[in-house]
Amino acid sequence: MAIVTVPRPRPRPLSPHLSIWRWRSPMAASIFHRVTGNAMGFGAFALFAWWLLAAASGAKAYATWSHVAHGPLGLIVGIGFTWTLFQHMASGVRHLVMDTGSNFEIHANRRSASATFVFSVLMTALVWALILAR
């Protein structure tokens, strides 16, 4: 039996198109979901391990962690990863809702995408207000 080579159809258009786009809240939420997720995996997850290992290694090792964490770098990284956590959490919950087939109506979809950013900024402000107030 001869092997049939099916002719390739003409190249299909790629989506999303690489050069025709503009910022909208749903695509921003999508991009930030990926960026924040990977940033936390490569950054915050390793810092979490450092914190736990420092605590498990003794007072001296913990003092090194504590010194960095309570310095200006610790403050910037701490606030940064607090925001990435709440941003990823909010857009992740939005994804879970969309997985059920809801929230695809364009205006509701845009509103929920914008809401993830409002939520993450407010939660970051709340958490750091509580930390800095004590």
């Binding site: 092997i3 049939v4 080579t5 099916v6 390739r8 990926r34 997720g37 990977n38 936390m40 995996g41 490569f42 997850f45 390793a46 979490f48 391990a49 736990l52 290992l53 605590a55 498990a56 003794g58 007072a59 913990y62 003092a63 504590s66 964490a69 956590l85 959490m89 992740g92 919950v93 994804h95 879970l96 997985d99 958490v127 509580l130 930390i131 004590r134």
Partner: protein
């Protein structure tokens, strides 16, 4: 020279039959992460501070050590799935992609093991050690 049908050529190259499993575990670990991370943030905020004695005494309790272990495992699994898709999307050379995904797996297992070891040492280690 291309041989066979298009279906025949793509078989074994993609997520056929395993894509839903990847997606589903991403969702399961997402739900677990949501619950565990809310617990984690609230628990840390309820501590008087993050000094050595406070953290060690806190982490030593079973009610803390077990969620910390679960958090480590769920985050590791969730991150591994998400970062794999990211690498598959952006790296187009097959060899580079395989190396990158393998390195990712090494990284995830190493960090998760370090976390798990630290949690167990805190929880099971001799007091004051």
């Amino acid at each position: 020279m291309q041989r066979g049908t298009e279906l025949g050529r793509v078989r074994g190259l993609g997520a056929a039959r395993s894509g839903v499993g990847h997606w589903w575990m991403q969702k399961v670990t997402a739900a677990a992460n949501l619950a565990l991370l809310i617990w984690f943030v609230v628990s840390l905020l309820r501590l008087p501070g993050l000094d050595y004695v406070t953290v060690v005494l806190w982490a030593r309790q079973p009610i803390v050590a077990v969620p910390l272990l679960l958090l480590t495992l769920s985050v590791a699994y969730h991150f591994r799935l998400g970062a794999t898709v990211m690498l598959e999307d952006y790296i187009h050379r097959e060899g580079t992609k395989v190396v990158a995904v393998t390195m990712l797996n090494f990284y995830v297992v190493a960090v998760a093991s370090a976390c798990a070891f630290a949690v167990l040492k805190l929880a099971l280690g001799a007091p004051g050690a």
